[in-house]
Amino acid sequence: MVAVDELTAAFGAAVDDKVFRQDFDYLSRTFSGRPTPVYRADRLTEQAGGAEIWFKREDLCHTGAHKINNALGQVLLARRMGKRRIIAETGAGQHGVAVATVCAKFGLQCEVYMGVDDMARQAINVYKMQLLGATVTPVESGSKTLKDATSEAIRDWVTNVRTTHYVIGSAVGPHPYPLMVREFQSVIGREARAQMLTETGRLPTAVVACVGGGSNAIGIFAPFYDDPIRLVGVEAAGRGLNSGAHAASIGAGRPGVLHGSFSYLLQDADGQVQATHSISAGLDYPGVGPEHAYLHEQRRAEYVSVTDEQALAAFHQTSRLEGIIPALESSHAIAYAMPLAAELAAEDLVLVNLSGRGDKDLDIVRGATGG
């Protein structure tokens, strides 16, 4: 508890500090490669046959996904707090690579917890983290995936809290994490909003983003809260919501408590957390950020889901029609944006958060499509 109290105070002071914000902005520009552009996806637009489809190109960030935004913000904060050791959990490895990258830049000790099953699925990212000087610690407990890596990182944090900062990768966990992750990720939405106004002279009709824990979605949604536009979160329906093999916490879960937050949770009748499935490791988490639960209940955002198969189809379409190989996570958002665009008029705009690139997923896609 003292750990989160200390962090809440430090975070509050940092966001009010001009120097901290200048450091974050400067390194976002020179190290992470911000701002990322918005891009009109002409051939997908033509294929859908309705609204214009635009991408916010977070795939062009350093390390290949939006994860670097939060990693940079939190590591800067940890430095302010005098913490010399950084820990993180990772599923697909994107967050782990982002944290290991920022730690290498600042010369901080870094340990990343990763389920042994995920380590096997994402061997290249394990090697990247090791190249960057991080220790990757295999997690053998529970389901051996992201939720167990998160539990193990929390156990490490409570044990080593005096020296260590825990960088959570998504908009989950105890307060202030969901708020902090939103703060560092909302650079996506601030940029996108201004860029859409510059490029098209108007706001998008809808903003679409994939939701696992929900960090890229909250980052692009938050700056649009007061605008009269639709916000759509796309969860992973895996093999279908009726199959039991999915990760759609809002679509099929009930309110519950995991990792220090009260939100929608995939659980059995007895309150035990259920195993999840998604072809995309980054969406393979049984909970969802509490702010998404709030947006859902307030009906400010809509939450839908897309199957593995639909996401794979969007992955291939985007690769061939746009020359962009998207992450499987982001492919979920594209898979929903296409039919959504088809329902809308030609003057409407659908903005998709292309949260990451698909290099990490090539083996999985090749396996799923048989060659």
């Binding site: 003292v2 407990s141 529970g142 156990r155 409570v158 005096r162 408590v257 659980q267 007895d270 957390v273």
Partner: protein, 263 residues
């Protein structure tokens, strides 16, 4: 007076440290818990803490994680844990407490859980992922069923955190002996004794030390300082050495722990 208060009052008068034994419900076998409670109570345990297994036990180290997984696989549910407590109550008068995480009891219903637990003869409840500031609803449910709700303090706790735990807790204060998760350890944290002294300034409730307590030396070091200790992972480790003869392991381990110093 509650069973918990009466037990501590009696032991305090005798200047004895309370020994609380932790058992994971349904470990090492689904139906074994009532007999292990009986064995523990007959071998020096002054109270028993029954862990209802949860899929994601954040505050627990490897031993309790593994026991929890095994018990869940065997089919332990909240309802079965309540039945086990009820059966255990028929074998002993020592205080029984449940230790579990918030989500299983939230799914069962907080009020219903407290009511059924009290009917089963359970005296207290420990929920490590519930901070005092978030506990009002469970507090009401526990009060309505007259069961105690225990809170934690740790070596890293701030003075305000200690004060909040002491204000909110009933039964006793659970003083975490180490900075970290559960699991047997060789040495006690040097910050522990000063922590106990600080907690005393905030409460007259008994102070019970847990996490890492595993040796007779730990008990001796805490006699006259704390009011009790909780032995969890070390007891489960002993059971794991001969799970087919779990009751004998419980008896042997607790009797050894209660051994008076020789010479």
């Amino acid at each position: 007076m509650s069973r918990i208060a009466a037990t501590f009052a009696r032991l305090r008068a005798q200047q004895r440290l309370a020994l609380i034994a932790y058992l994971t419900v349904g470990y090492p076998r689904l139906d074994v818990t009532p007999s292990l409670v009986e064995a523990a109570a007959q071998s020096g345990a002054d109270a028993i803490e029954l862990g209802i297994p949860f899929s994601d036990p954040l505050a627990d180290g490897r031993t309790i994680q593994a026991a929890s997984q095994q018990a869940l696989k065997a089919g332990v549910t909240v309802a079965r844990a309540l039945e086990a407590a009820s059966a255990a109550r028929k074998t002993t008068d020592v205080p029984l407490l449940f230790m579990t995480y918030l989500n299983p009891i939230l799914a069962f219903g907080l009020e219903r859980f407290c009511r059924v637990a009290a009917d089963a003869g359970v005296d207290g409840l420990i929920v490590p992922d519930l901070p005092p500031a978030e506990s009002a609803e469970l507090r009401r449910a526990a009060d309505a069923s007259q069961i105690d709700l225990v809170f934690f303090v740790a070596p890293t706790s701030s003075e305000a955190g200690i004060a909040a735990a002491c204000r909110t807790a009933t039964g006793f204060i659970y003083c975490i002996a180490v900075t970290g998760v559960t699991g047997a350890r060789a040495e006690l944290d040097p910050a522990l004794l000063p922590l106990i002294e600080t907690v005393r300034l905030h409460t007259s409730l008994p102070i019970v030390v847990g996490f890492g307590i595993s040796r007779v030396e730990h008990l001796r070091a805490l006699t006259g300082k704390a009011d009790g200790v909780i032995v969890a992972s070390a007891l489960l480790d002993a059971i794991a050495q001969a799970p087919e003869d779990a009751a004998t392991q419980v008896r042997r381990f607790l009797s050894d722990l209660r051994r008076e110093p020789t010479a």
